[in-house]
């Protein structure tokens, strides 16, 4: 059993005015062991381009997450007026002008495929931008670390606080930190439920304590996961739980951008004394500020590693140092291994964004997108399902005729009631009987309520002289009054004759 002790030491200067950090790359693969308890990471607050981008992305993504359910969208009296709503109770998914029925779940499949391919494309071009900026795990972890930083102070203050014995001050800081974390977690779960029920109604119910137990359970569940994943587990989620770091290996190559330490420029590294020459040595002064800034607890100078989420905070840290010691920025930058190799060979670095891989992803993305747009543009506002009775398969009648039964589902996706026309072709029917309506003449006019499915049992009788052996193919067709939309469904009529 090793005992972790904090050694206080006098600060070492890496170069004039630059302090060497005592940060350790504790989460590097070589230093990590199974069953070893986590060494806490205390990321240092950075200021710079990428930190600013991260703030903006955080504000935008959190803004969308919290505000989206409150956007109103008028759909008339028969449908909810919430722009984005997953209405499980009524089996509908609303997204602004779109209303998706459960039968059309392939649109969501298409959307997921597009998201996946877009993720592949971005990753093959610019590396794990999703992980570094937009992933909810990253956004909430960043927010939680921001709160921690606000209450307990920056890296060194937090390390001191962790090592300090329990005191009133420490208790106050810890309690207030966890309280704020819990408030954020509750707000996260609280916002999530608004996507599933009308937001203003649910907000009123929540405030008066009259919402259903399922809502409170959902909020509790999301509070727990947000608090534990964002506050307590943090980088462990990315390193151990998330499959994406593994998948990215297949998406990136030597040409894809990633946060890269330019070995060609940085090595050999070592502390630098003010006034001493830079010739014959690398620009890395081994100040370890990149490690101190890293929320993942790795050393970027070890090269590309699956723990790296490509957030660019080490770039900010290094650029800051480079400015201080009057060296050009970009010792750590969005770059790639191929360029490092090129520079070591004395060639000019270049970025090859057009590669077979990126072209393939872009083409797949465009094709799936076109298919989606086409299918959405030509989407039917009516639909028909036909289910033939199988028990009994057919019914022989006293006069020698044979009858088959079908369950039909007439779907009206319009926001107003409509009369739809049902026809049967391909078979000579003696009688068509709609249970509840009676014997009908084809095509038969059937009323369907707004945004509803009407289920009907239809009995088709074929006279003995028109019966053929085996299965007879036929078509059910449904159309609107203007005959502008048609839906044909093929079915069989079983005669029972061999």
């Amino acid at each position: 059993m090793t005992v972790h002790t904090v050694v206080t030491r006098t600060p070492v200067e890496a170069a004039h005015g630059v302090e060497t950090s005592d940060a350790e790359a504790s989460n590097s693969a070589s230093r990590r062991k199974f069953y070893k308890s986590r060494v806490p990471i205390y990321p240092k607050m950075m200021h710079g381009t990428f930190r600013r981008i991260k703030w903006i992305v955080m504000a935008v993504t959190l803004g969308i997450y919290y505000l989206a359910p409150w956007i109103r969208w008028d759909r008339g009296p028969s449908a909810p007026s919430q722009a984005i709503l997953v209405d499980f109770a009524h089996e509908r998914f609303y997204f602004f002008f779109l209303e998706i029925w459960p039968q059309e779940v392939y649109y969501i499949t298409g959307l997921l495929i597009m998201s996946a391919v877009a993720l592949f494309l971005v990753t093959s071009l610019f590396g794990r931008l999703w992980c570094g900026y937009a992933c909810p795990q990253t956004v909430w972890t960043d927010l939680f670390i921001f709160v921690e930083n606000l209450i307990e102070g920056d890296r060194s203050a937090r390390i001191r606080l962790a090592a300090a014995p329990w005191s009133a001050g420490k208790v106050v800081k810890r309690v207030s930190k966890h309280t704020v974390w819990l408030v954020i977690a509750v707000a996260t779960g609280g916002a999530w439920v608004f996507y599933f029920v009308d937001a203003p109604t649910l907000a009123r119910e929540l405030l008066t304590g009259t919402a259903s137990i399922a809502v409170y359970a959902a909020i509790a569940g999301f509070t727990f996961t947000t608090y534990s994943l964002g506050g307590l587990m943090r980088e462990q989620v990315c390193t151990f739980m998330c499959p994406w770091p593994r998948i990215q290996g297949a998406m990136t190559d030597r040409e894809a951008l990633s946060v890269t330490y330019r070995v060609d420029r940085g090595e050999p590294r070592g502390p630098h004394k003010k006034g001493s020459p830079w010739e014959g040595r690398g620009h890395c002064i081994d100040c370890r500020q990149c490690i101190a800034a890293c929320p993942m607890g790795i050393d970027i100078r070890d090269g590309l590693q699956l723990e790296c989420i490509n957030c660019g905070l080490c770039i900010d840290a290094c650029d800051d140092v480079m400015t201080k010691i009057d060296l050009p920025r970009g010792l750590i930058a969005y770059d790639n291994d191929a360029n490092v190799t090129r520079r070591l060979r004395g060639e000019k670095p270049r970025f090859r964004f057009v590669r077979p891989r990126t072209v393939l992803y872009a083409v797949v993305l465009a094709v799936v997108g076109c298919v989606m747009v086409y299918s959405l543009a030509t989407r039917r506002s009516l639909d028909l399902d036909v289910l033939r009775d199988r028990n009994p398969n057919f019914v022989s009648l006293s006069g020698g005729a044979v009858r088959n039964g079908y369950t039909l589902k007439l779907m009206n996706r319009f926001d107003r009631p409509r009369e739809l026309y049902l026809d049967v072709t391909g078979i000579k029917a003696k009688a068509v009987n709609v249970i509840g309506v009676g014997d009908v003449h084809l095509p038969v006019k059937l009323a369907v309520e707004a945004d509803k499915v009407r289920a009907l049992r239809v009995l088709i009788t074929v006279a003995p002289e028109n019966l053929r052996s085996g299965n007879q193919h036929m078509l059910f067709s449904l159309s609107n009054a203007a005959q502008t939309e048609h839906r044909m469904v093929s079915a069989v009529f079983v005669s029972g004759r061999s």
Binding site: D389, R390, N391, P392, V395, S396, L397, S398, G399, G400, R403, G405, N433, I435, G436, R457, L459
Partner: protein
């Protein structure tokens, strides 16, 4: 023995328990603490469970536990809750007549659901899960009805049964013309041809001519002079294409010889009037209702 008083195995570097058999020492490898923790938690859980829930069998009874929990009570409560939830509709069902039920979409849907469930529980063993019937068991989907296919007819048949123990039962008896020696074997052979002829199939003309008088004397009373059947007496129509006991000559001969007649039990005392109404509506909707 090492100087610290603990015996450490030289090979593995692990402490031993001090037990030794023929020079073999047992290493001290205690259970992992997380495992022990879960184990103790399970024991604590079990004790709590014994106290709160029914657990130990006694000689004539068992320990009921402080919560006095019983799954049988849960089922009873659930059934009672269901009955309460359905009470309104059941009441409406008991007040409405069959036509009213059929013309009220809401009530019809309820009756159809109840009828379908009741059919599966009570009727499907004989009539089949799809009411398709079988040899000797009427198909309820077709347009052939021995006792009538109107809603009231179906309701009455379900209530009193056929050849059942109910005093008002629907009753018909096809005599065993051959087995009881009422007719000679040759007459039954001729009658078989006659019945085949009635249903519009080619038959032996001489036999048909011989059987005409036999039919008029023995069969026309119930089946009618033209063999078209009689619903008052539950006598099947012999001129159609549906046969309860089969369409072949052998089937028809067997039926004239033995006079089979199945039994449908009375449901009047076993199912509630509402359930029987629902069953009538459901059976009527299968396609053959008149």
């Amino acid at each position: 023995m090492s100087h610290s008083g603990k015996d450490v195995d030289q090979h593995s570097g692990t402490e031993t328990t001090g037990h030794e058999w023929d020079g073999i020492k047992e290493l001290n490898t205690p259970l992992p603490r997380w495992w022990l923790g879960i184990f103790y938690a399970c024991i604590a859980w079990a004790i709590g469970y014994w106290i709160l829930m029914p657990s130990w069998p006694l000689l004539h009874t068992y320990t009921h536990g402080l919560l006095n929990h019983s799954q049988r009570d849960d089922v009873t409560d659930a059934v009672r809750a269901l009955q309460t939830a359905r009470a309104g509709k059941e009441h409406a069902l008991s007040k409405a007549n069959l036509e009213q039920i059929q013309n009220n979409p809401d009530l019809l849907q309820f009756a159809m659901a109840e009828g379908k469930a009741a059919f599966g529980d009570n009727c499907a063993p004989c009539h089949g899960s799809g009411a398709q019937g079988g040899h000797g068991y009427p198909n309820l989907n077709d347009d052939v009805w021995l006792w009538g296919g109107k809603l009231e007819d179906i309701q009455h048949t379900i209530t009193v049964g056929v050849r059942s123990t109910d005093p008002n039962t629907r009753e018909s008896q096809m005599p065993s013309f051959g087995r009881d020696g009422i007719l000679k074997a040759s007459q039954i052979d001729d009658l078989t041809e006659y019945v085949v002829h009635l249903s519009g199939r080619p038959a032996d003309g001489k036999a048909t001519t011989r059987a005409a008088k036999v039919f008029a004397q023995n069969c026309a009373m119930c089946h009618g002079p033209a063999g078209q059947g009689n619903r008052q007496m539950g006598a099947p129509n012999l001129t159609d294409k549906e046969w309860l006991y089969g369409p072949t000559r052998a089937d028809i001969h067997d039926q004239i010889w033995n006079g089979h007649g199945g039994v449908m039990p009375t449901w009047g005392g076993r199912l509630s009037p509402e359930t029987i109404k629902s069953l009538a509506v459901y059976v009527h909707s299968l396609g053959g209702g008149e």
